[in-house]
Amino acid sequence: VRLFEYEAREVVRRGGIPVTDFGFATTAAQAREIAERIAGPVVIKSQVLTGGRMKAGGVQFADTPDEAERHAAHVLELEINGHSPRGVLVDPRAQVKQEYYAGVVWDGLRKQPVMLFSDMGGIDIEQVAAEHPDHVGRRHISNLLPLSDFAAKECIAQTGVTGSRLNRLVPIMTRLAAVFAEHDLTLAEVNPIGELEDGTFVALDAHVDMENEARPRQAALLRDLGVGEEETRQAREATPFEIAGEEVDAMDHRGVAGNVTEFDGDLGLVIGAGGGSLTLFDAVRAHGGRPANYCEIGGNPSVRKAAGLARLVLEKPGVDKIAVMMSIVSNTRVDIVARGVVKACLDLGYDPADKIAIFRIPGAWEEEGFKILDHYGVPYADRTVSMHEAARRAVEGVKA
């Protein structure tokens, strides 16, 4: 789950990292009040979960509360990459001597978090790493040992930073690593950290991503931040079709019949399991097919859920036929899926033989499943027909 900047700043602040006296506003009037409190020049920043804010005009500078209110009114209405802002962040404009970067991310190969530091802050760390590798420090940290300042010191010192700067930056990096671990983050970034005229340091922006799997045990923090349980915060907002797919999956707790993603084609897909769905979606496209959706079934869902998913896909505007395909199943029962998809066709008043372009699910209880399909004249295939061949037949079935 991605957090907005104002939420991310709150998370690092709670972790003991100094932040500016910023405020969050959802109306222009609120933005004005915050600017009045700050009593100096401010920055108005759009709160959206997408990049390119500055370029899109989502970041504006204001010298007076009047100006802040005007800019906020504009930014609040400004859509960026299809995202409407949650609000605006009103931030005092700091006089900064130098900008730094501090971040913590997972290294999936080393299977440890890695601290990243640069004395060239304010720009993308990957760009710095590519162009100025000697300005980036890296240090992996143990998952088991208690966090200790020396790791942060080693990380920062790699860039040549020394003196009081080093000693003041070390606790910021250590605290960032602590926040990363404590809140199950997959990314914790403070960029830039500003070095002020008086030699102190302050976070001028923050970026935080929390792992979805950890949402249950991070419920208290998410509640404090006001992140609703229903907020998925995916890269793309869920469509009504996708939300209906989640409802199908939630019908009961037996297996999975969901993870629906909407596409604009004419071939409805009832496919599974995880890897099988990825393979089959590619296969349909490789044969020139246009999928209407992606989805996953697996873990032996009930007839009701399989039928619900098939019905949802069949009812999607523009869908002519569905293809029911999986990699060889050992847990999910072929006959249960067959029953479900046939039921969906019958419930909608369709002939299953006409609406199901191909049924290719080999494996557990396949004889029973194939008997049902024979009865209704649905074309099916066993494991001697490859997943790609089944996809080809599905695509031909739609053309026919």
Partner: protein
């Protein structure tokens, strides 16, 4: 021969009284020469039996009952308790853990993996179906009930490593149909951090005399395939590798996760197209379709390469 497990391997099932675990226990007992499941653990259920396997409260009780070290454990406890269960197994001398559980937070996984390394143990998974040595032993739900597993898997010269449990069986079945059996097939799990990657299993297959080629199933997300490409280049592996890459469509949809938790395009390096290029550079053939895999493997193995 085989890697990781053989007919002598002893293991326990942690969370054995759960619905899926009961099935899994039955399947493993029935398959091949019959798995040596020496105990099961569910706290508070000591004294019960699951298909004749005695249930204990702790791993220590299992070890005591067995009267010596236990080789492995299949961990099927809910995600909130998995780390504790794995730590318990590791601290009681278990050296091979197959973690079936899905949706374990990454930090927990990383902690388990780090402790396993300190204890000289190995983790397969999480979010995996386990290991199978055809006609000998299966450790985990891989291949399903014994009679279904027997349809898909046959003994032979090919090592299979897959990020998808279901696709491990699909690919092995395709190999079996073409007369290419498997030495060992490993479902390594679909999470962003897993106990054993392709490159971490390759040295085992490399030293296994029976294994003559490797088939892998790969997906977008992460850098495991790049790690394998580097390993192959640096070690001049004797084993030809044929890869299949699913999820090519995801290159157009960065930031969205499909199929498995670890399957998400976050940058340039972890796209399907970039991975295919990396694998190809290292001499790994990437099949367009699964049905091509046996033919490609036979070409690389040369004449007389049948099971």
């Amino acid at each position: 021969m085989s890697i990781l497990v053989d007919a002598e391997t002893t293991f326990i099932v942690q969370g054995i009284t759960g619905r899926e675990a009961v099935n899994l226990t039955r399947e493993c007992l029935d398959y091949g020469t019959g798995a040596r499941i020496v105990g099961g653990v569910t706290p508070g259920r000591r004294g019960r039996e699951v298909h004749g396997v005695p249930v204990f409260d702790t791993v220590a009780q299992c070890v005591e009952h067995h009267g010596g070290p236990i080789d492995g454990s299949v961990v099927t406890v809910p995600p909130a308790f998995t780390k504790d269960a794995v730590f318990e197994a590791l601290e009681n001398g278990v050296k091979l853990l197959v973690i079936v559980t899905e949706r374990i937070p990454r930090r927990d996984v990383a902690q388990m993996v780090e402790l396993a390394k300190l204890r000289g143990a190995r983790i397969i998974g999480p979010n995996c179906l386990g290991i199978i040595v055809p006609d000998v032993i299966k450790m985990g739900g891989i291949g399903g009930p014994a009679q279904d597993a027997a349809k898909a898997y046959t003994p032979g010269p090919i090592g299979v490593i897959s990020r998808s449990g279901g696709m491990t069986t699909e690919m092995s079945s395709t190999l079996t149909a073409a007369g290419l059996g498997q030495s060992t097939a490993v479902s390594i799990g679909g999470d962003p951090i897993i106990g054993s990657s392709y490159a971490e299993l390759m040295p085992l297959f490399e030293t296994d005399e029976e294994t003559r080629g490797i088939v892998i199933y790969t997906e977008p997300g992460g850098r495991m395939e790049a790690e394998l490409a580097t390993w192959v280049t640096e070690h001049e592996s004797r084993l030809p590798i044929i890869a299949f890459m699913a999820g090519r469509f995801m290159d157009e949809m960065p930031g969205m996760s499909f199929g498995h938790a670890g399957t998400i395009v976050e940058g340039h390096e972890d796209t399907a197209s970039e991975k295919i290029a990396r694998l190809a550079e290292a001499g790994i053939i990437v099949a367009e379709e699964i049905s091509e895999i046996p033919g490609l493997m036979r070409d690389r193995l040369g004449a007389g390469a049948t099971a």
